[in-house]
């Protein structure tokens, strides 16, 4: 409950009368009146622009800035709680007593290593590039039985496996983008295998098929499995009869498989060395850290931000700000790194002024609009270039261990108002562009005003690198959008 009754400076007490028009629970009302205020959590974020400007002055000390910030203060205050949590977890861990812990631990580690090695080998062997030629009809395969829960630790080396016969394989059609652009060897495949299964129906009449070992009871059925469930291929191939519908035919096929297995217990596996050489035996180390102390990563974040600036030539190794850095120093109203990269890649140079304006509008529009219309071709092309640049910038930051989500970063640039701003730059009236998009008028006006700010900063940046053409282009852009009701100082005309 915030606000104050009574006249300021005159009344020392005020009366407030609450009229409740809906049913309100007493605890809720109590919380409204007597509850504590929203906690104030600092969202301090040191931007690249600030960092570069600090490095430009001799006295600039960004570490000091961060150390004295409220964010750091709150983080420091939270440390005792985190340490307590750490202690509790450690005690819990110490209290779990296992006999012969060392030996068991070694054994468990060995098993984990073995499993991961096997998985690596499987991944290589069963990448579609290598195994597709071998997925012929009639080939005997070794499959994993269902019901194996991979996440629970098991203490045996042997997996529960069974055998079956390949009937066919299919490419998985993914519902996402670029189906045509994906090469055949990169797609996922499913294989139809004839093997023994147990079919159960749960209450809603949904079939649940479980693959079981050949010798157990069940029916011979054809199921689709993905390549990852195949453990190995055999070099033996059966002659399959054309029609697999009758039950006896299927039963006979499985009997033949059992015969081959009984004669060759190993199942005559295909030699992976024959296909390719396994080049790397990489042992993965599993490292588990206690997550609690990661809050202190804020201190590391300063060390990582300059690193990514150095890696992309914004700052020399002696911390002297270079040309790119000087350009990024000028830009404070939009994402400076992506915009600098865009400028230096010449993207802004060749396009027309109106197209450039609509591209820059992606930087100033932060809201998410549901079902926005896709902009026209040329604008869409420019937008995809912007996304590529943004992706590169994010990946570079990721390499320098700044905590950033690449896809999130890329999708923070939205093309929703590109069409509207394009029309505005061309000279349409404001009511005309309001018909193009469904945004609020105020949001659009705020976006266009912010766009003009960004353009002014870009003019300064272009001046510092000496590109007079680009500077003139930005100035022309400013004159095109700075007109009419959007930039009217007052609406009382």
């Amino acid at each position: 409950m915030s606000g104050r009754a009574g006249r300021r400076g005159i009344d020392d007490r005020g009366i407030c009368i609450l009229m409740v028009d809906e049913k309100l629970e007493p605890p809720t009302a109590k919380m409204m009146l007597k509850g504590s205020a929203d906690s104030l959590n600092s969202a301090f974020h040191l931007s690249y622009n600030m960092l570069l400007n600090q490095m430009r002055c001799e006295d600039g000390d960004p570490e000091n800035l961060l150390r004295n910030s409220f964010y750091q203060f709150q983080a420091d205050r939270a440390i005792p709680d985190l340490e307590k949590q750490v202690k509790v977890l450690e005690e819990e861990r110490d209290s779990m007593i296992i006999e012969e812990e060392d030996n068991l631990k070694n054994y468990y580690d060995l098993i984990q290593q073995y499993k991961s090695l096997k998985k690596d080998v499987c991944d290589i062997v069963f990448s579609p590039k290598y195994c597709l030629p071998f997925l012929q009809a009639g080939r005997i395969v070794c499959l994993q039985c269902t019901g194996i829960n991979e996440s629970s630790p098991s203490f045996s080396i042997e997996d529960k496996v069974t055998w079956g016969v390949i009937i066919n394989f299919d490419r998985v059609k993914s519902f996402s983008e670029d189906d045509a652009s994906r090469k055949p060897e990169d797609s996922n495949y499913t294989v139809d295998v004839l093997t023994r299964c147990v079919v159960s129906r749960d209450g809603i009449a949904k079939k649940n098929i479980k693959i079981v070992p050949l010798k157990e009871s069940g029916e011979p059925l054809v199921v689709s499995v993905s390549i990852s469930e195949i453990t190995s291929l055999s070099s033996a191939r059966l002659y399959l009869s054309k029609d697999l519908l009758p039950l006896e035919v299927r039963e006979n096929t499985l009997k033949k498989v059992l015969e081959i297995l009984s004669r060759n217990p190993t199942g005559l596996p295909l030699d992976p060395e024959g296909d390719m050489k396994i080049q790397s035996n990489s042992y993965k180390k599993a490292v588990r850290r206690i997550e609690a102390l990661e809050h202190l990563f804020e201190k590391h974040e300063i060390a990582n931000l300059p690193l990514s600036s150095k890696n992309s030539k914004y700052v020399t190794s002696d911390d002297v700000v270079e040309l790119k850095g000087k350009v990024a120093c000028e830009i404070s109203s939009a994402d400076e790194l992506t915009l600098t990269e865009l400028m230096f890649n010449g993207v802004l140079k060749d396009i027309k002024v109106e197209e450039m304006i609509s591209l820059l509008s992606c930087f100033v529009w932060q809201e998410k609009l549901q079902d926005a219309a896709k902009p026209r071709e040329e604008l869409d092309l420019l937008f995809s270039q912007l996304q590529d640049t943004a992706r590169r910038v994010a990946k570079l930051q990721l390499e320098c261990k700044v905590q950033i989500d690449v896809e999130n970063f890329v999708s923070s640039f939205r093309p929703d108002i590109m069409e509207a701003v394009y029309a505005w730059a061309k000279g349409s009236k404001f009511y005309e562009i309001m018909e193009i998009t469904q945004v609020f008028e105020g949001s659009l006006i705020r976006a266009i005003r912010r766009l003009e700010e960004v353009l002014q900063q870009l003019i300064q940046a272009a001046k510092s690198i000496g590109e007079t053409e680009l500077e003139a282009k930005f100035e022309e852009a400013v004159s095109k959008i700075k007109r009419d009701i959007v930039f009217a100082a007052s609406l009382y005309l």
Binding site: V320, F344, V347
Partner: protein, 321 residues
Amino acid sequence: MREIQLSLNQTQKIRLQKALQKLESLHSKVNSDASVTVADTIPISLEDSILKGHGTAERNGEVVATVCGVVERVNMLVYVRSLRSRFKPEIGDIIVGRVVEVAQKRWKLEINFNQDAVLMLSSMNLPDGIQRRRTAVDELNMRNVFEENDVICAEVRNFQNDGSLQLQARSQKYGKLEKGQLLTVPPYLVKRQKQHFHHLVQYGVDLILGCNGFIWVGEHCDARDTVAEEQLNNTEEQNTKSTRVSENVPLETRRNICRVANAVRVLSTLGFSLTLEVILEAFNLSSTLNLGIDEMLVSEFHVLVAEKEAERRSSLTKKKR
């Protein structure tokens, strides 16, 4: 390479040539064909959209250089960086300048640039240290803060519309410089680095490498206490002011100041970039050879410094490998 203004006899000339050649060979010539003179065409691939930066112009569809220098490329930006030019200021540069005029609410400073720089009264800390609006009384007392011919160090704040600089001196380390020497060197010898203020502890000397080519070597002052100094100056007689300035500097410090200044002079004659290490090397060389301070400006010492520098850099590159 521009001729070094020294009178050398034959052996000295040969030795100097050898040292300079050694230094040249240490720098890997990555792109020696990137150096251009005026009106040279810069090679660009025409499909890319090239951004034309400083020192370039478009002529008959080609990109030509307008200055002599080295072509630099940053992504799609092509520009020519001149090796030897007038001082080119950037925002954040440390400048040492001399007051030429006390104008209305500002001081005009000479800084080896094509125009005088401006230091506004509001960009300067007041003597009593309070933050307040500058009144007419402050304006009348400007002469007590800085007078004509005072040496000041400040930082570039921004550029004005006509291209002249606006400075600011709002930190404790900026302000009036006293008890020392001001040297003028070509501005391209002072490269931009992380630190331009150097305090040589063992000699008690402050060294300020101004990016405009003005170097200040003086006695070390801890923080520029304009507060204490102003009050002292106002209470004492005016004629004891100058004696006070000179009597407090010990003889040893004065010797060190002169030695450092001569080291800087030697290096600037040879055309070497001025960094703290190089200056200290020259200083140490002169002390180990027990040269008198005036003997440092002899040609023999120049040659020795060049040889020492060649040695030092070759040992550095060997260490890196």
